[in-house]
Symmetry: D2
Subunit: 377 residues, 4 copies
């Protein structure tokens, strides 16, 4: 029984470009994918860089013209890992050409652009994916499943966080991440905290309906060439949250948290139990249950194991552990299943729009110093 072919085009060959290439390769080895994959063409800025990357990453062809890639009738899926500002034109062009599109986060710098992209994809009927790969961790799926199954009882509260320190050095230069439109810690990594919050809480508490934001710029100017440039985006963004069910929570995105490398954490509290997670040890989930007998209760360190699909496809036994790149392979496999119609899209452009909308609502709330309803999409 041979599988249908699926031809992939990749735009960009930086870190995320590589991560996509690994993701496809690993997914093909680990999962029973619905397709035989063909890494067809890689587009990069110059012919030379494209050729080199294509060879290294296993693509058969190379081009410096992403529009040619997008227009190539042989290609069925377009992966976009180019700079953020190009996501929109590339995605719209690919959608117009009828391609499925797998775009790195952020989908767009502004919600209105993300909406345009989501609308276009749905109108054209192509399958889309935005790269929020922390969601692909089997321990997050476990958390969500436990919440959905009622193992924590009724869900009351949430505390989420994504803190790192890559912008903690005030001597570091002004970069595209400091761009007044679309930049800042909340957008860059607070978006992960928001995505996790809705992913984990969703089945029991529904979506975030209202927010109160607190976005703070601590490093007011940064080196830009010879001079200094004013920074307007936040170095950390906090929010109070309301969920549909009445549950409440808080979230923080922070890129000046000295010493923190991957503090993507959450805690969920229900009437009968609680969960605690940190990406610093992302092969573990800590679970408290009031069902345990008195005197024997405590947070229990569940280690990732074959019981927590799809971990078992990567490692035959508990304790071996997944790495960051494995999460990307899981993301790829989920998306390809969606392309084949086996399941809904795991995190499509509308989901990307959703995150961008949350970010912007929090930013707007912070500016206003008042609570804001999150617009429905």
């Amino acid at each position: 029984m041979t599988k249908p072919k699926l031809r992939i085009g990749l735009i960009g060959s930086g870190f995320m470009g590589k991560a996509h290439a690994f993701g496809y390769a690993n997914a093909a080895r680990v999962f029973d994918l619905p397709y035989e994959l063909e890494l067809h063409t890689l587009a990069d800025v110059t012919e030379e860089s494209a050729a080199k990357a294509a060879a290294a990453l296993g693509f058969a062809r190379a081009t410096s013209d992403w529009r040619a890639l997008v227009a190539d009738p042989a290609i069925e899926v377009v992966n976009i890992t180019a700079p953020n500002a190009l996501h929109k034109p590339m995605a719209l062009a690919a959608i117009a050409a009828g391609k499925h599109v797998y775009c790195e986060k952020p989908l767009a710098s502004q919600a209105r652009d993300a909406r345009e992209m989501a609308d276009a994809a749905e109108a054209r009927g192509v399958k889309t994916q935005v790269g929020f790969n922390y969601l692909c961790n089997p321990m997050l799926a476990l958390a969500r499943a436990m919440i959905e199954a009622g193992e924590l009882g009724e869900i009351r509260g949430y505390r989420g966080l994504h803190a790192e320190d890559y912008m903690a050095d005030a001597g570091g230069p002004f970069t595209f991440r400091h761009d007044p439109i679309g930049g800042g810690a909340l957008a860059d990594i607070g978006s992960h905290a928001l995505a996790t919050a809705e992913y984990v809480m969703g089945p029991a508490a529904g979506r975030i309906t209202r927010v109160m934001g607190d976005c703070v710029t601590m490093i007011g100017e940064r080196r830009d060439g010879e001079g200094l440039r004013r920074v307007e985006v936040d170095d950390l963004g906090r929010a109070f949250l309301r969920f549909e069910s009445g549950a409440t929570g808080s979230v923080e995105g922070n890129w000046i948290a000295t010493g923190r490398k991957m503090q993507h954490d959450f805690e969920v509290y229900g009437t009968k139990g609680a969960l605690a997670f940190t990406q610093e040890r992302f092969n573990e989930l800590h679970f408290f249950s009031t069902d345990d007998r008195k005197g024997r209760q405590g947070f229990r360190r569940i280690e990732a194991a074959p019981e927590h699909a799809p971990y078992g496809l990567f490692c035959v036994a508990a304790g071996h552990q997944l790495g960051f790149n494995d999460l990307k392979a899981i993301e790829v496999a989920g998306y390809l299943d969606a392309v084949a119609g086996r399941r809904p899209e795991p995190f499509n452009f509308r989901a990307g729009l959703r995150i961008q909308t949350l970010v912007e609502t929090i930013q707007e709330s912070s500016r206003a110093g008042a609570w804001r309803d999150v617009p429905t999409l």
Copy 2:
């Protein structure tokens, strides 16, 4: 060289009454106190309960009349561990009689009462103390000292928390802690988180100047006798914080955090380092320093040791660990030093007023859905 005597009167003999008695006894053995202590009189509700408690706790006399205790010219320090509603009349009476007063938290249910008490004490020139004993942990003193000494560089951010689960059971009864005036999780334990925030951040970041509150009632009614009674106080209270220096932070008090017994945590981030602490393991402080060489950096688990005074008075070597009751002994010793004029009062009525003011400002901000300046005292 004999020490002057200091005669102690204690009102109340419940958990905190016992804790005070232990505190005096332990402090006398551990510290070189400025006084020879005499546990003079214990007052409780009935003659019988007072007599029994006096015997058990080592007081020479017993009475069911707290006013008699307060008026007794022999007594120089009055300890108040009676129900919250009595704190004010007892303290004012004791102050009027010229006694030093050591009152359990909360100082009063409302800031205006706390202010009256602080004003009275200052006018009369007596020394006061409010029991915020988590502050007496040598590891918190270490954190404060490190911040003051600049070991973290310039301080940018703070995240604080006090979460427990003693009100998580919706079937539990309505109690005095649910009283619309002065009750709620923010007042009851969020107050600890606020006290720690200002204690630790103070030397570098100054006081909290503005807050945005989010106080939430999750369990809207509770059993009261045969019927149900509406609960108006918060089950959890959150706040965004601004400090004088421009540093920002957040804090949460939560008494429905299923599974949490003592999650009194904080993290402080500076330009050169960070600290992380949890009361769940309160003989440790975790310290990150950018001064460590690249590739060897990491959060370092400092264990309480004789270098961290006054730990060494309790245990001769690192790793032996203090317990909760030892913190109370440290509190007592600090207060007695203040009574003797050796040092400023560690946490006097004005400090208690300060905490009450922060709590009420956060509550008011939450009701208004808007930021509020914290009134100066």
Copy 3:
């Protein structure tokens, strides 16, 4: 209902002398002791030091003549915290005078002396206690109770450890702890690891019946005045263990474990579960149970709580935590109950002899390079 008086004499006023005094004082406040205690006389090397210590520690009388204290007919319990070499003559004199004796560890430098002391006490019918206070931790009692109740199934294996670093500095001087008779890491702190092993494993696995030792001297000479003195005792001692039931294990005592302050750890493995403990966080016990459902199993961090008697006498709620000095109060209370005939002696001279016998059998096994049966007492 008045309690009978019990008059206490204390020999020594160093760290352990203080700890005994605290222990009595705290025990009296925390527990419903069978006696009204009277701290009668304290003996120390000089009249002056004795007087000063008596005042500080609450003893009514002072003496420089321990023989007078031991002979005083008013005194009913003699506490010995003098240097190790004096334990035997002091204890024998006290026993001869019909006193109950509470002696710090090690009971004696050699098993034959310990045996003489145990025999004497039993012949005279006095109650004895050796200070192995880590055993008084409610979490160890919990571990023992869980094992006894079969919560781990059949017990198969044990791994124990007591490692610190107080002798890690090769530049440190030769002390009495390096004395060829009775000295060394195995005797000094490995003894704690052995005591814990038999305490925890006892109900299910019985006693240690055979050992294979490995005692190592790493720092072969130390400063002694102007010169260097050869060190013959071990800096670390390891042993393989056999228990009566057929369970096996290992244990290590180590005083040159750089960085370790209180690594008194153990792990127990049974057919249905496991326990892990470290004194570094001694208010916790970690429990794995195969009864938990698949996919939800994991080591569970049980925090000390009122369910774990006698924790609740010290703290009203979980998470507050006991300190080192509280363990001593528990030890005192257990001993006084034994003196009153309410319960068997928790850790009497024969138990002290048992530990000394284990230590010496391991040392002898190490010298011989062969397994040795542990002599029955």
Copy 4:
């Protein structure tokens, strides 16, 4: 600049076969390998299973005849992931055909066979590798480098462990792992603990020169078809260790440690510092240094980061973490560098023989109840 081709043959397609295939694929993407790899032929038991696995794992050809694969002149490297009993004939045949051989652990069931294989490979001049992939963790390389650089001072002691629970169920069947020749916990996973001990300690302490073993069978018989079969191999094996430098240590391999999934731990103690590691959190290394100032010392949690090569080839920033399969890719890359002559073989057949020799010496010591010198190879 084109790279020379290297053609790979793989025998076996179970878990380790897959791991090898992934390892090659990932290594090719992550590292700048000296070769262009060609996955040439896969051999499995039947034509059908071989064809299926070849397709899934990316091999161009398939065969049921491993002798044909070994004889194929096109193939330059033979990977052996067949059952242990076949390692020797396959490896010898491949060596005879002049192939480089990469064999899963254990190299052979008995040291004498391993020696024959190592001798044959060296005589023929082919490059060999045994799969001890835990050694490929950058955090272990860091530990070794720190020890070599003297960051811990003079090394004194070691404690190592590899404990899991996959044989804890006494109801589980008799398997090839229980084979009297070559089976048992010490051989199966204690071998990892031994490999890590010599890898980490080597630069400072040299090799293990003497051992005292303690091998224990706890589950004496297991189901075998309808009946029960006697188990002669150990369920756990312990050893005391002596290193060339005079440092000492201990090690344990244990497959009945209920609840443990990957307790591959070690601690190293030197005169100036210490390291602690657990494979349960293998992207961390904990480091204590006496160079830190007093009052600020503590074990520091170093998170894997680009400073710790080759981590940075997998993840651009600290905290992202490697997974188990990434360790295999590092193993492959190291081996291919050795094949190309760029570096010595990371863990060749002689190293595999070394581990087997250690295992057998410990077993023999255990049987004799006496210390044994480790034979030099």
